[in-house]
């Protein structure tokens, strides 16, 4: 039991956070709870503190919308949180699609899909930055927030809180795409929101840190990591994961049997480094 907790502690915490947040939003709509109203696009904590999706706002600005102060303050709060603290944590700790794509990866492993396709991926992970840029251009040309009208993230989240309609189809598409077409396809290659948080979260304090001297080169971390290009230093150098594409999901930390990976706070760690 202790081993299970040790090997899955962050995974369990992440699922609790993801489902817990969904439940709070759901309860707000169904039972009138006030702790967390709205959805992932914009919400209110206890009817006082606003939160909103900074990427949605960026698109709305690009579309030429004049926005009220509530949503601006909300976006500022969320931006500061991920910029200073969380990094790209939205993707692995909040986003409901993460559960779908993680499940697709789980099934891939189960049926041996990953052995079949090998390591080489047929698409670039930079695709998401192209989609991100394109979404802003299309928003400006069409005068509406472009990604918000096709986002499977919103369709799923809004679907769970307010009723899903045919939104399940979008979720199924993502699942099948990740399962059969491209490993880590949606979250790791295409999603512009992930791309946005990759850029935003580059400088946050919470980082995964690798100690080379403890590493036994088992490479379990690289296998389990959904963005394994960020772990380029494994077994080579003692470095923090500095790429913004790391989602701080901490799977690498829990699969490491040698304690060679851990969370750390950027500044403390850096001063340690200079002290060496």
């Amino acid at each position: 039991m202790k081993k299970v907790w040790n090997n899955y502690r962050y995974l369990i915490l992440r699922r609790v956070t993801q489902i817990g947040l969904l439940f709070l939003y759901f309860g707000a709509n169904i039972w009138g709870w006030t702790l967390l109203r709205g959805d992932l696009s914009a919400s209110m904590i206890l009817d006082t503190v606003p939160m909103s999706d900074p990427y949605a706002l960026l698109q709305m600005f690009s579309a030429g919308a004049l926005l009220a102060s509530d949503v601006l303050i909300g976006a500022l709060i969320v931006t500061l949180f991920y910029f200073l603290i969380g990094g790209r944590a939205f993707c692995s700790w909040v986003c409901p699609i993460n559960m779908v794509t993680d499940f697709a990866e789980f099934v891939r492993e189960l049926i041996g899909m990953n052995q079949l396709t090998g390591v080489k991926q047929p698409a670039s992970r930079n695709l998401r930055y192209w989609v991100l840029g394109l979404s802003l251009i299309v928003s400006a040309v069409m005068g509406v927030a472009a990604f918000e009208f096709i986002s499977p993230i919103s369709m799923m989240h809004r679907g769970i809180v307010f009723g899903i309609g045919f939104g399940w189809a979008a979720v199924t598409i993502i699942f099948l795409f990740d399962l059969f077409v491209l490993r880590h396809g949606w979250c790791g290659h295409i999603c512009p929101l992930g791309g946005f948080y990759s850029l935003l979260g580059k400088f946050s304090f919470i980082r995964v840190h690798h100690s080379e001297e403890k590493c036994t080169l088992c490479m379990k971390c690289k296998v389990v990591c959904p963005e394994n290009q960020v772990l380029h230093m494994i077994g080579k150098e003692s470095l923090p994961v500095l790429s913004g594409e790391c989602t701080n999901c901490a799977r690498c930390i829990e699969v490491c049997d040698d304690d060679a990976l851990n969370f750390s706070i950027r500044n403390i760690m850096q001063s340690k480094k200079t002290g060496e």
Binding site: D39, M44, A65, I137, V141, M142, F162
Partner: protein, 265 residues
């Protein structure tokens, strides 16, 4: 021919060209989809909503208005509803807007897509100034127009006697009864839909349409000459000048010129 390794410069150019090609294709498909997805004109919005174009720009699809509504009038458009995805709307035949005096759905809007100032009169919230749509009567299916006595819509109207009035007219068919025809007044109607909800016919004979759709526009060339106020609109009228082959010259010159010459030829 032996395959040569690409230089970095060529690789970069190739990547950029591929990206550009994909982005252009994707951009057009994306734009075309958005154009279709936002084209629905039959959507009824919560009170105080901005004009449809601005509303689609400004609404962040958070559903706070939906949660604030005590009657579950509003819902967010799901895939399959054939409405702009995620935006709030209501279907009055199912649940109309009950016109709460404190308008709970409006102040919660974080983006200003529901504009509180548009339903505020002299600093006080005033739901009667809301404009969600306009009731339109189909005279062919409304049984009051057949001569059957029904005033369900008139009775249901929360702005009783102003938004809908009953017009009496002699029923020539029987010679001794009266038609009691409902007439909607667009200046008072808020489009709440209580009339549509109350209508007794199988499909409502009085329905709410978005105002843009329900109303025409006379324009500035047609003026009520007997109305001093209306006459002021004449100032906005602009001259239209069009030039055709004949109108290039003055009418008299034209008549005395080419046409005469043509005659004598």
């Amino acid at each position: 021919m032996k395959k040569q390794a690409l230089s970095d410069r060529r690789k970069f150019i190739l990547t950029m060209a591929r990206g550009f090609g994909l982005a252009t294709m994707g951009g057009f498909i994306w734009s075309a989809f958005l154009d279709e997805a936002t084209a629905s004109q039959l959507t009824l919005r919560p009170p105080a909503a901005l004009s449809e174009d601005d509303f689609l720009k400004t609404c962040i699809k958070c559903g706070l208005c939906v949660e604030a509504c005590p009657y579950d009038t509003l819902s967010l458009a799901k895939p399959g509803d054939d409405k702009p995805l995620g935006t709030p709307f209501f279907v009055p035949r199912d649940v109309p807007c009950y016109m709460c005096p404190d308008i709970p759905c409006v102040p919660v809007c974080p983006t200003g897509a529901l504009d509180q100032s548009s339903v505020t009169t002299n600093g006080i919230l005033d739901i009667k100034s809301a404009d969600m749509g306009l009731a339109v009567v189909d005279e062919e299916s409304c049984i009051a127009f057949w001569g059957i006595q029904c005033d369900a819509c008139y009775r249901a109207c929360p702005i009783l006697g102003q938004a809908i009035t009953i017009e009496y007219q002699k029923n020539e068919r029987t010679g001794k009864h009266a038609f009691m025809k409902p007439v909607v007044h667009s200046d008072a109607c808020t489009g709440c839909g209580l009339c549509e909800h109350a209508c007794v016919t199988e499909k409502a004979a009085i329905q709410i349409l978005p105002r843009e759709l329900a109303q025409g526009k006379a324009g500035n060339y047609y003026i009520k000459g007997w109305d001093k106020e209306d006459e002021k609109r004449l100032k906005n009228a602009k001259e239209i000048k069009s030039t055709t082959e004949i109108s290039k010259q003055k009418a008299a010159d034209k008549l005395n010129g080419d046409l005469l010459e043509d005659l004598y030829e």
